[in-house]
């Protein structure tokens, strides 16, 4: 029977490399594209909201609104990096998603410890409860997706 098996010219190591290339290429399609779209929506809405807050009522809660503006920048970077096919984009995506996860956790905890500085809601307030906790779930899904599609 072994004589009937077609000869395979591809060594195992090379096949593994092709696997990895396919995995990295699939980062921008399928579920990845849905994740990028959700990041894009958050980038747009958090930028609009933070811009409005900083321009009109910044002195009411400077700390919360500075973090709100920071969150908007993180979402913009994450969206662009996740959508990009350039070699370094995976690492930038990972950094942005990790910062986002840290941000939503830190702002959520600070809101519990010093609520007087976080009375004015923004995207990461109360672990993102104003947005259905999507800001908390999104980086977890993002990390899992990046791990599945690591270069």
């Amino acid at each position: 029977m072994s004589s009937n098996t077609p000869p395979t010219n591809i060594p195992k190591a090379e096949a593994g490399r092709e696997d990895r290339a396919a995995r990295a290429a699939g980062r921008n399609s399928g579920l990845g594209r849905i994740i990028i779209a959700v990041y894009g929506v958050f980038a747009l809405s958090s930028t609009a909201r933070a811009g409005y807050q900083v321009l009109t009522e910044f002195e009411q809660a400077p700390l919360a609104y500075t973090l709100s503006a920071f969150a908007a920048v993180v979402y913009i970077v994450a969206t662009l990096a996740l959508a990009s096919k350039k070699p370094g984009s995976w690492a930038v995506s990972l950094a942005a998603v990790l910062i986002e996860l840290a941000g939503v956790l830190v702002v959520g905890i600070l809101g519990l410890l010093i609520p007087e500085h976080f009375a004015h809601p923004a995207v990461w307030t109360q672990f993102g409860s104003g947005y259905g906790y999507v800001p908390l779930l999104l980086p977890l899904v993002g990390l899992w997706w990046l791990y599945r599609h690591r270069p």
Binding site: S29, G30, L31, R33, I34
Partner: protein, 124 residues
Amino acid sequence: MIVDGYFIAGAIVCALALILGVVAAVIRDHPDDYALLAVAAVELALVVYAVAAAVRQAGGEAVSGEPWEFWGYVITALLIPPIAFWWAVTDKTRWSNVVLAAAGITVFVMLYRMEQIWDGALPA
């Protein structure tokens, strides 16, 4: 006030798109033809709804809420099925069926809001 027949018809088409999209996501690894057709039907239902609304409102039928808000929803809802369709054509994976299903439920929520604005018959 009795809930509008156009709304009920639109809601049924949206439900169909949602169900076909979810089923297709489970059994297909590419965008399903019937899920695509269902989303096209959602667009058709929206066009009929918009034309009927324009005729009735031009004929002097009152809107209980803000007309500009109503038409804002109509125009935004009309954009959703073409975007979902384009998505499925350009990304031939299982996940496009999820996007088609999401288009169905999104348009349903917007139809619900339109109906609320129009006659106030539905609970908020």
